[in-house]
C-alpha cells in the first residue's frame, strides 16, 4: 500500500483528489411501497466542479436530488453509499445525518423563486435567519444585518438596505432568485445545489441568474450541482453532465465531448433535439416513442425501447454502473460513448 500521496498530487485539478460528493450505487425507493425509483447511481462531484444532472420530466432527477439531500419525505435511500469530503454517511438515519449538513456544508436553491421565499417574512429576516442557523449570528444583531446587506449587494440587488426591509412580493422573479442565492451563499457552503434554478424565469433572466450562480461559486470556490432539463443552458454552464433516464444514470460526459466525440446514444439523441441557429426546423430531431418514467429497474437499459442501436442484449443485460467514477461513463452495454483512454 502507498502511504501519503505525493505533494504534487493534491493540486485542485487532479483527478486523484478526494471528491467533494461521492455517490456509489445509490438506490432510492418510495416509502409507501418500497418501489425503487432511482437505481444504481454512482457519480462524484469534485471540489469547485460544476456538475449538471439532466433528464426529461419524470426521469427521477428531482426525486434523486431531493432524497440525496434529505429534502424529500416520501422517499428514502434504500441502498448505496454517500460520501461527503470522504466521510461516508450512514444508511440508517441517513436523512437525519444529511440534514445536519444542510445550511452548513450544503446550500440549496429551489426551483420556483415565486414560492421559495416566505411571503410574510421580510427579506432581511430570511437572510439573518440563515446567518443565525449557519454561523450563530444573533438575528437582530448589527453584525447579521451588515452581513445580510452585503450579501444582497453581492448578488446584485439595487438598494440592498431598502431590500432588507421589504417583503418578497415586492420583487420580480429574477430579483427573488437573487435573494434566494444570497441566502444560500450566506451560509458559506462547499456544495451548492441548484434544483432547476431558472426554470420559472424568462430566457433573458435565466442567463443572468445562471451567470450569477457560476460567477459567485467560482469566486467563492464552491462546487455546484445543477439540475435542469434545459440542455443548452447546461452545456454552456457545466463541466460535466450526468444523464438520468428512467431512474438510471446512463451517461456521465464532459460537456466538451458533446458533439466532439461519441457519447451515450440517449445523450446524443437529446442533444439532437436542441434547436440551434445553424439548424433548420426539419433538422431538429425528436426521439421516437414515449419516455419511460423513473423506476425502470436494473434489468436492461431504460432507453432500449427507443434507441436506434438497440439489440436484444440491451433489454436483458443488467444495468452497467459507474463503479470507478472516472471523468466519463457510459452505461451502454454496446460500449457506445465509453471513453477509451
Amino acid at each position: 500500500m502507498m502511504t501519503a500521496p505525493a505533494p504534487e498530487m493534491t493540486t485542485e485539478t487532479d483527478p486523484a483528489m478526494t471528491p467533494l460528493l461521492d455517490l456509489s450505487d445509490v438506490t432510492i425507493a418510495l416509502r409507501q411501497n418500497d418501489r425503487k425509483m432511482v437505481t444504481g447511481v454512482s457519480l462524484s462531484v469534485m471540489p469547485r466542479e460544476v456538475f449538471g444532472i439532466v433528464g426529461e420530466s419524470g426521469s427521477g432527477k428531482t426525486l434523486f436530488t431531493r432524497t440525496v439531500f434529505g429534502l424529500h419525505e416520501d422517499t428514502y435511500l434504500a441502498g448505496g453509499t454517500v460520501r461527503f469530503n470522504g466521510r461516508a454517511l450512514p444508511l440508517n438515519g441517513y436523512r437525519r445525518a444529511i440534514k445536519k449538513m444542510l445550511g452548513k456544508e450544503i446550500g440549496y436553491i429551489p426551483q420556483d423563486p415565486y414560492s421559495s421565499l416566505n411571503p410574510s417574512m421580510r427579506v432581511g429576516r430570511q437572510l439573518t435567519e440563515a446567518l443565525y442557523l449557519s454561523k450563530g449570528y444573533p438575528m437582530r444583531s448589527q453584525k447579521a444585518q451588515d452581513a445580510a446587506v452585503a450579501l444582497l449587494a453581492e448578488v446584485g440587488i439595487p438598494e440592498p438596505e431598502l431590500a432588507f426591509r421589504q417583503y418578497p412580493d415586492q420583487f420580480s422573479g429574477g430579483m427573488r432568485q437573487r435573494i434566494v442565492i444570497a441566502i444560500a451563499l450566506s451560509q458559506d457552503p462547499e456544495l451548492m445545489i441548484a434544483d432547476e434554478p431558472t426554470t420559472a424565469l424568462d430566457a433573458f433572466t435565466q442567463r443572468r441568474i445562471m451567470d450569477l450562480i457560476l460567477e459567485r461559486s467560482r469566486t467563492r470556490g464552491l462546487a455546484v450541482l445543477l439540475i435542469s432539463h434545459n440542455l443548452e443552458l447546461l452545456r454552456q454552464s457545466v463541466d460535466r453532465l450526468g444523464v438520468l433516464y428512467g431512474g438510471q444514470l446512463l451517461n456521465v460526459a464532459a460537456t466538451a465531448d458533446i458533439g466532439a466525440r461519441e457519447i451515450h446514444p440517449y445523450t446524443q439523441a437529446l442533444f439532437d433535439c436542441v434547436p440551434g441557429r445553424d439548424k433548420r426546423l426539419a433538422d431538429i430531431a425528436s426521439i421516437p416513442g414515449e419516455p419511460v418514467g423513473a423506476g425502470f429497474g436494473t434489468t436492461g437499459c431504460a432507453f432500449a425501447g427507443r434507441c436506434a442501436f438497440a439489440q436484444d442484449i440491451c433489454r436483458s443485460a443488467p444495468l452497467v454502473t459507474n463503479t470507478d467514477r472516472g471523468t466519463g461513463f457510459s452505461a451502454c452495454v454496446l460500449g457506445k460513448g465509453a471513453r477509451h483512454g
Partner: protein, 335 residues
Amino acid sequence: MTYILQRIAFSLLSLFVLVLISFLLSHIVPGDPAYVAAGPNAGAEKIAEIRAEMGLDKPVATQFFIYLGDVLRGDFGTSWFTHQPILQDIAQELPPSLELVLVAMVINLVVSLPVGLLTARFNGSRFDDLVRLVSIAGAGLPIFWTAILLQQKVAADWKLFPVAGRLSFEHRRFEGQTGFTLLDSLMQGRLDVFFDALAHLMLPAFALALLFTAVGVRITRTSMISEFKKDYVTLARAKGASEGRVMFRHVFPNGATPALTVFGMQFGWMLGTTVLVEEIFGRPGIGRYAVKAVTQSDIHGVVAVVFVVGLFFLVANLVVDLLLYAINPRKHLEG
C-alpha cells in the same frame, strides 16, 4: 390605508343592510303588531290609536327611516315582558353571553391551531386519522345534546362542575362595573368568585366550542397542508432550520391567516348559538333573552337580538381583517 377605509366602508354598508333586514323582519311577521300590542280586549278605536302611536299608519319607507333613526340612537323600543327599554335589557344580557363566547373561543383556538398544525405536519399518520375521526364525530353532535349529556354526566353524576347558573348561591349578590363576572372579580381581587364563575363557564363553553373546534381543526389543517407544500418550507429546511422552527416560524404565520378569517366568522356564529347552551345551563344571556322574547311574541326584543348578534358578527370580521392587515399589509394590496 385605502384598504382600511374600504374595509370600514364595506362594514358600514353591511350594517345598513343589517338594519334593513331587521326592519323587514319586524314587518313581515304575520299579525298586526298594533293588534297584539293593544291586547285581546281592545276595540277597533284603541287599535287604531296604538297603530298611529307606533307609526304603523305611515308609508313603509317613512317607517324605515324612523326605524333607522331609532336604531342609530340605540332605541329598540320597550320590552313587553321586562317593561324596560330593550337597549337596557341587551346591555345587561350581553356581558354573560360574550363571556361564554370568549371562553369558548379560547378553547377553540387553543385546540384548533396546534392540532390543525400538527395534523398537517403529520398528514396521513395514525394521529391524523384519529383527529379526523374525532372531529367528524364532534362536528356531527348536536349542541343541545352535548350540552344535556355534559350536564347529566359531568355535572350531575360526577359532580365535577356546577349543574347550572352563572355563579353559586353564596355569590349571588356579587356585582361589578362591567358585567363580565370574570373581569369584575379579578378587578375586585375576589379570586373565589373568579374561580366559581370559571367553573360555571366550563361545561357550557365546552358544549358551545365542540362543534366550532371540530370545524376549526379541519380548516386549520387544510390551510397548513397547502403551506407545507410550498417551496419556502423546503428552503427553510435547506437552511438548516429545525422542524419546530419550520412549523412555528414559517408555516404557522402563513397558514393561520386564512384560518383566522374563519375564526372571525365563528365568533358571530357562536353568539347566535348561545341560545341553546344558555337555555340548558340556565345562564342569563342574550340567547336566553331571545327565547323569552320569542315565547312572549315580543317582536322588538327578537329584532334587537338579531341586530346585536349581526353587529358583533360584522365587528368580529372587521377586527380580524384589520388584524390580518396589520400582520401583513402587503398581502392585501395585491389580492
